[in-house]
Amino acid sequence: MHKPAWNDQLPGILEAAEPGSLLPFGLGRSYGDSCLNGGRELVDCHRLNRILGFEESTGVVRCEGGVSLSDILQVFLPKGWFLPVTPGTSFVTIGGAIANDVHGKNHHCAGTFGDHVHQIALHRSDHGLVSCSSRENPEMLRATIGGLGLTGIIAWADVQLKRVGGPWIDSESIPFSSLKTFLDLSHESNDHFEYTVAWLDCFSGKNVRGIFFRGNHAADCRKKFHQKRGPKLPFELPTWVLNRWSIQAFNAAYYAVNAVKKRAAVMRYDSFFYPLDSIRQWNLLYGRQGFLQYQCVIPEKNLEAFEELLDRIARSGMGSFLGVLKQFGPASPAGMLSFPRPGLTIALDFAMRGEPTLELMRSFDEVVQQSGGALYPAKDARMSPALFETSFPNWRNFVPYIDPKMSSSFWRRVTGSP
């Protein structure tokens, strides 16, 4: 494990490394092995966390790869700037956000994180420091966005922030109890709301019920905004705590509480965007066995495939209470291996119960594969090479851009590379 504290140390690390032996590492929030390099080395970049400059007139911030999104918000939100795109946790680095081309609740109008990166300076073992932008090495830029850290180590990146009125979100929550209602709500909301997402009760099957959330940045209001520090799960829970009945009970209660009627509220940005960040080490809820996450996207024209997926999930009895559903927008992918594409995306956790869980996910894979969908590498720990092939049919175009010294467990698993 290398832990460089300065950008000037990166060339030396790259030079001294064996081919295929390195992978940059941020905050390690990827769910599977896309951020791991089993038996080889990682370059822990969290100390490369300096903000190198900010242009007030354009809102472009230049950051080292290890700056976290949470850090950016702490520094810039008080000045009226927000992230252009944010995933469900702020504890990811700029490097990680680029490497996974993360998406958020505003994908339908803002695309992915990579869409808002103007320039990247990339340390490579073969070409030294390479500058990538739409004008200079644009293909290297497209390879690095969503490139899972395999194209090199990011020295710094220019990210476009956006102006907001304050830390508050005008939000609404609307219950729904069919896929059709969800789609209607989604289509209607996408024109007027910047942020849309649905929580769904994955035990409800084809007649999916859930709560639709939508929101916009609020103009600043008089409410005082205090930083809060949430609880931390101190230890793993015993495996039996999260089971079919407790989760079903939770889901039923959650739906009931929110389904009274359409509700509007002014929410803190961190409650709206990062509900889990306030429970530190929430993964310990799943106990020692842990959990697997499954996130896929299915083209909207294959609605029956999506219904089939929901049916299989409900019938399995193994669902989780963290089911998320969203309609992606029409934007074309910013990176060669970007996951988001037009369609419906669903993300679920499953407690890891060994072979039954893996078997269940293989049955989902069938549906995804047959419908021309894809799986999200950042969430994956077990997809097969065949599914990777159908998810990213042009992945071979990415290969020439891989830095010879880089490799990852995920990449070796899905491509059979040495």
Binding site: K3, A5, W6, D8, R50, I51, V61, V75
Partner: protein, 246 residues
């Protein structure tokens, strides 16, 4: 505490302290060897809201360069009120035992040069009858141990030096704080086996900033529990201690 001179601004602990000082609107003069790294720190602190950050590049272990540092501070950063010494080096003990050169280098960086530059700044603060000097030594300086006595003796020597300095500067109203961290997760300790269990530099920096603000205590152990551990360690009779291998 308004204007702080940081000697060794690129050190792991100093980086965290500097970040926390920006939220207290302190002006900073950062001294370290690498101009490029100083520029990067300066940019970061300024974006985060530091009112004024100056940099000066010099090799602090080289006594011949100390006058240049002091003159720059006097000229470009007048009326500074705090000096924080935050640089050091930790060589492998076995190597220091085998090589006189490495031994002397360790003593030079961690003790001799530190005593020299603090003498320079102390005279100035004493003359102006105000301010505070703080220097990072180590719990390793509290007792000579088989596993790190070269580093320990340098830091221990510095702790004693600061103790005398404290007494000398007391009548002039100048504070002297000896900061004694236990092991901290920084680049200096990365190569040590149990580095995962060392203190978070963020936490250590919080303790230091609070100490600087209050100008107390005189001897600051961070994290705080090290005070009790070292009290116990110091009480062990030598006849037993010399047999211990830790």
């Amino acid at each position: 505490m308004k204007k702080i001179v940081v000697l060794g601004a690129t050190s792991g602990i100093a980086l965290e302290v500097q970040r926390q000082l920006t939220s207290r609107s302190c002006e900073l003069l950062l001294v370290a060897r690498s101009p490029q790294r100083l520029t990067e720190i300066q940019a970061d602190l300024q974006v985060r809201g530091a009112p004024h950050v100056l940099t000066y590049s010099a090799d602090l272990s080289c006594i011949a360069q100390h006058d240049g540092i002091f003159e720059f501070a006097h000229r470009e950063f007048p009326d500074f009120d705090t000096v924080l010494l935050a640089y050091g080096s930790l060589h492998n003990q076995k190597v220091s035992e085998a090589s006189i050169q490495v031994l002397l280098e360790e003593l030079q960086v961690d003790f001799v040069s530190a005593a020299a530059i603090l003498t320079l700044f102390a005279a100035d603060l004493e003359h102006r009858r105000m301010g505070c000097i703080a220097a990072i030594t180590s719990v390793a300086g509290d007792r000579g141990r088989r596993s790190n006595y070269v580093y320990g003796s340098a830091k221990g020597g510095l702790s004693l030096f600061l103790q005398g300095l404290r007494s000398r500067l007391y009548p002039a109203g100048v504070g002297v704080i000896t900061i004694k961290p236990g092991p901290v997760q920084t680049p200096m300790t990365d190569h040590l086996p149990s580095a995962g269990r060392f203190a978070d530099p963020h936490q250590v920096a919080r303790d230091i900033v609070r100490g600087l603000e209050r100008r107390s205590p005189d001897v600051l152990y961070t994290p705080g529990f090290w005070r009790w551990i070292m009290t116990a360690v110091q009480l062990i009779p030598e006849i037993i201690f010399k047999r211990l291998s830790f």
